[in-house]
Amino acid sequence: MRDAGEQQRTKDALLEAGVRGLRIMLAVLVVLPQLSGAWPVSAQASSPNEYSVKAAFLFHFAQFVEWPEGAFQNASSPIVYCTIGEDPFQGALDVSLKGKTIDARALQVRHLKDGSEAQGCHVAFIGKTGKKRVTDELASLGTSPVLTIGETEEFVKDNGMIAFCVEENKIRFNINLKAAEKANLKISSRLLTLAKTVIGSPRR
């Protein structure tokens, strides 16, 4: 008997909830169209994460760079992206490049502890691992044909090639053309015009 009473109470509660919910929804539906006319409509979109955007930049950068002969074993060898040290992408780079090709080359991602393992990399991303380490990593890569990309303030001054910076929540980059040329990499002028600053003017 008690159960039946309890069930009845539950039913009543649910019924009450239902009726009340419907009433509110109706109220909302009636009021809303009036409001939406009065207020400017804009999208409630949340901004993408910084590193998923940077990953897309990394994809594009490789399209604007020409590697010297010998950097690839053959015409179909993949372009190898390496993150060196702490990986801030947290998987975003792998996701962005998965299944993509540039000039019929597949894209590979490797996550490396430090630059000493960087043999075979074509693009190296060196995160904010602390100033000394970034210079160490850059030095260890020497003039091998690796497009070096970083995000510290001093990166391009320390002979890194492309450095991200964030300005008013938008991503910008600086290019050290001299460093790229030393490594025999050609950076397209289209990319140079988009850069905030370019160190070393293009040779004629």
Binding site: V28, V41, V53, V95, S96, T129, R172
Partner: protein
Amino acid sequence: MQKQVLATKSRNLGLRGAVAFLLGALACTASWGQTQQMPPKDLTTTSIEDLMNVEVTSVSKKEQKLSRTAAAVYVITQEDIWRSGATNIPDLLRTVPGLDVAQINGSTWAIGSRGFNQQFANKLQVMVDGRSVYSPTFSGVFWDTLDLPLADIERIEVIRGPGGSIWGANAVTGVISIFTKKASETIGTLVEGGGGSFQQEFGVVQYGEKLGKATDFRVYTNYFNQNHMLDPNGRNGADGWHRLREGFRTDSRLSPKDSLMVEGDLSTGREGELGFELPSVTSPGFVAVSEQINLADGAVESIWDHTYSERSESSLQLSYDQHRRGDPLNPETRNTFEAEFQHHFDLGRREEVVWGAGYRYTSDEIGGSLTVAMVPASSALQLFSSFVQDEIALMPQRLYLTVGTKLEHNDYTGFGVMPTTRIAWLPNNHQTVWAAVSRALRAPSRNDTNLVLNIGAIPGPGGTPTLLRLLGNPNFEDERLIAYEAGYRTMLGPRLSLDLAAYYNDWDNLQTTEPSSSFFEPTPLPAHQVQTFTYKNLMYGEGHGFEVQAKWKVMDSWSVSPGFTYANEHMHTRPQSLDTLTALFEEGGAPDHLAQLFSHVDLRRGLTWDLNAYYVDELTDQGPTGNVKIPSYTRLDTVVTWKMWERFSFSIAGQNLLKDHHPEFNDLNGSLQSGQIKRSGYMKLTWQF
């Protein structure tokens, strides 16, 4: 497509028709991941020129460092919020392993961590956008004033244990930091409304826009009206309440190196309760009286962040808030001003230093009644604080040592030092082992020092009644803790993660209630003898326990997270103590075992189903005389959310589904009658445009 389905399917009649309609409609809607976020877009298809115009949200330094944090940290994300089905912050906190959340009545909760819990739980630091919201009246939180719209919460970080040197004197057993979304993340209009049997009606209307190039803002109104719970006898309680809140937030980029956040809110509400009142000096004890309490709160806060360089940044925070609580027994008005400065910089290439200084001025006026009063009725208190913390990378990426200390000065106990040492070892990218030793202090509150509470009268010699009275102790000292903690976090492959934390707490100088002087008092009539009791620091003890939680992605569309908490305390009183009740009360006042099981299912076509179960162990030695037991209970909540189309979603939720009603609390020190939570359900619509 929606309309087509509606037209073809609605011709069918009856339940089968309805089901067919539902399934048909499901087949036509897009799948989705999160209520508040669009599914991730493949940005590589966007041109590089367009990418340069995309605004990004930065992963803060803090988030990157989460893996090497040497503390028991848990983060509630926006996704966790809507998946929980919770409609208020206390219910949301139930999802955190190790937190003990018990609802006392409609608008009052007891929330504790690692062993101590009561209505006036006083060992947690709670902050909203960096501003402390615990009340200096009792060092606890008026949870009923934290009614910010859940849709605007970016994340809640919960640290169990003393939390570290950065947070203040109240961060003894935990720190709860609520962060609201930046205004840039809430551009557009949000309308959310719903109702049900317990949460009778609730809604948010919010509008956000850009003001010029550098500023974003939002304004919102949030309202809810909640039904009453049941009283201990199963009759309708008197604890229904409603609350209206209006607020804004602006975020401005003043220069490439400076940003300014300003936010504020005003809220009013009215809540019912059965408050305990002593009707006369001869009354043998409290009687429950139905009361209506008017609430009015307002706060304004600004944070100015300045970046000196990539390796150095500072923030200055100023806030003012006013709290008015029209409790007929002890109406309170409190004004608090707070200023805080923090500077964070890299020292060399291996050290990260944070230091800061803060000041708080709080003044109050607390009215009294025969039952309860504060003497003096008004007070103004200052708190000075400073801290420094250094994280040293002993081996970069692998081994981090953090040392720090907080130095505070309060008007009751003077200077207090709270040092901590923490170490985190990351043997590889998937594992973290950490350990910490910290000292924490719980500084006295108004309640500890200035309370006058008349409890009841016993017949005395010669027909003169003896009134029992509890008095605050102006010489009450800090309650002290030395906490030893250790933990382990691991990713066991891409689908399974595990987080384990264990602790041993060495408590000293805890509060007891001791008999003190006795005297004759002619008024109020009839003339009576008074036997006073006062707070002393005569209890010590040990607490130990662990919290473990796993997150397991069983399939792409199904994940489960089981959690388990064990917390055990042993309290002892010093030989000079005559208090036999408090030790038992503290030991029995928090459950020894808590268990959780969450299941998240992404059904196809925008439909998600969440099932959240909570088990809470029994409470013993509760109630006014310590003879009340709260039986263990299992709470089951479920929520089905259907994102019908891109910007419109509908959800239906059931809460406390297993039993018609159950009690969660009955406090020895409580000021009001505990109620029982009923089974309930609600529906909700969310529309963003």
